[in-house]
Symmetry: C2
Subunit: 343 residues, 2 copies
């Protein structure tokens, strides 16, 4: 009696034990035609007994697909964690395994991750672009191999691929309009790096709201800084030291809103009376600080799920249009930091 604990059973073992050929066993296991009911039963029962599991490597090699999705993301913060969970959910359901690589917002790391995942023969990619990335050659290499790519959240026009994202402009618009309606007159923006599309769209929404309400755009009130709490802190200190200093701030992320909040407190100013504040993402922390910070909520989990769904569709009809653009909608969550009227 063979030891069937280590060295898992193969098709060959089954064939030997039943004195039939490899092909027949293979056919039987796959419910292919050209197998008698009798032998099929025999194969099935023996395969159960031996706990046969098809070898994924051999299968992948043969069929030229690994059932693996390469996911490249800049980090694992709150927003992206939720999105990854969404991707995971759908991918698992569809029989795919997910390989998640973090670029840590580093361009070089992103290239390395791409290479590794290509070498690992991922069937395709779901990508959120690092903020440092300005060249996209490494992603083009994926498409050169004719592998499907879906970009999500941090998308870029330099990569023609189906995409899933938030309506960032709408988010920027509703945040800004809300501040305007609360009576704030000089609204500043803390934006992200200048090449970050996600930031620019939100900024665009800001401009659009000003325009609608006939407020003159003041370039001095637009600050670009790193997507990060400390930079936002210093940028806000700077803003609040201006002669004509703003009476409200819209930050394009909650991390930056936190930084701004700390700077506002440092300056001894009160929210929402002296200054209004609205963030973006609706991270749980915004509801916990004092004053609670208003923020634009985005459906992270749903965006992740949508990205994975879109990937799988693209996978199945390879020649699908690269112009599909799925856009999800934000929702303003109003809290104390911007409620001037009720203050």
């Amino acid at each position: 009696m063979a030891n069937h604990m280590d060295n898992p059973a193969t098709i060959k073992d089954i064939a030997k034990r039943l004195n039939i050929s490899l092909s027949t066993v293979s056919r039987a296991l796959r419910n292919a035609p050209d197998v008698s009911e009798e032998t099929r039963q025999a194969v099935m029962s023996l395969s159960q007994e031996l706990n046969y599991q098809p070898n994924r490597l051999a299968l992948s090699l043969r069929q030229n697909q690994t059932h693996t999705i390469g996911v490249i993301i800049p980090n694992l913060d709150y927003v992206l964690s939720q999105m990854v969970r969404g991707i995971d959910e759908v991918a698992l359901e569809a029989g795919y395994t997910v390989m998640v690589c973090q670029s840590n917002e580093s361009f070089g790391r992103e290239i390395l991750n791409t290479q590794r995942l290509l070498e690992s023969l991922a069937d395709g990619f779901i990508i959120s672009v690092s903020s440092e990335t300005k060249s996209f050659e490494h992603f083009k290499k994926i498409q050169d191999r004719n592998l499907p790519v879906v970009v999500f959240d941090r998308i870029t026009p330099h990569l023609s691929a189906p995409s899933v994202r938030l309506d960032n402009q709408a988010g920027g618009f509703m945040a800004t309009e809300h501040l305007i309606e609360q009576g704030y007159k000089k609204i500043a923006v803390l934006a992200g790096p200048e090449n970050l599309g996600i930031s620019n769209s939100r900024l665009e929404g800001y401009k659009q709201a000003l325009k609608k309400h006939k407020i003159k755009l003041d370039q001095d009130l637009i600050l670009h800084c790193d997507f990060n709490q400390d930079y936002a802190y210093y940028a806000t200190l700077e803003l609040l030291s201006m002669k004509k200093k703003p009476d409200a701030i819209f930050t394009i992320s909650d991390r930056m809103a936190i930084g701004a909040m700390l700077a506002i407190k440092k300056k001894g100013l009160q929210m929402p009376t002296d200054i209004g504040l609205v963030g973006f993402n609706n991270e749980p922390v915004t509801g916990l600080v004092t004053p609670a910070i208003s923020s634009v909520e985005m459906p992270c989990f749903e965006i992740g799920k949508a990205a994975a769904k879109l990937f799988i569709e693209t996978m199945h009809n390879k020649e699908s249009a690269t112009t599909i653009e799925k856009i999800l909608h934000p929702k303003l969550i109003v809290r104390e930091s911007s409620l001037k009227f009720s203050a």
Copy 2:
């Protein structure tokens, strides 16, 4: 001239073009002996020209290893995200690719993840056990296949494998002793599920501190509830409705500390004067709320790195002792919520 864009070049293509055998090409590429300098050069230069990349699937199939680590974690919260980043860091360096699967604290999902990763022929596993898990058969299956396993953070005595964790008892001890030294007399604990080792160790540290300071243990002050903000909120409300209600609370996670904080505020009590509070994990949010919450810091990133390092060591000398236990040390971060003396 062949098109060497899609259908990546193989060893066979090189052999054909140079009119030599597959074996020779293989040897040349691997810098094996038995190849003349001349042919080696030829092979090398042609392989560069064709942008040859060895096919990982074929390699894995041949060598029976995939250079892939299966990572199973309960979720991607702040703590685990940091740890995963640490794992990623070390694994990448060592030439491994990481497959991260979240169990979402679900037992069934954990089993499914394990199966999937086993099917994907991961070379081994790095595991943090879900809080729901009480049976460990699915993990035993990994060890039956003689694959290395390292457990981290949420470890369990039911799985004999090398482990990396925080000195949780010390963490519980220092939090409790700090509260005692601040003059709190009746210190309650919000613990996690009763089968969660990580929670029990912290609880043990709590008991140890009481004992050292000759404070009688009151079972009514120990509450077990789900590892989660809402449950902690209600549990705290309950605590604060007791006749002999506590004057301090130690929660074994920051999520729970937040829940407790909300309940304390709801009751109209003041921290740290009416009641003291210490959390665990030192998530950024603890420093942002009002009052800022004292918390026990754990070196998440380092724990992740240590786990991956230990995995790779275990990998290399398969027969290593399963008793290796790497323990990292916590550090108490004191903030307003527990500073009775300066209040």
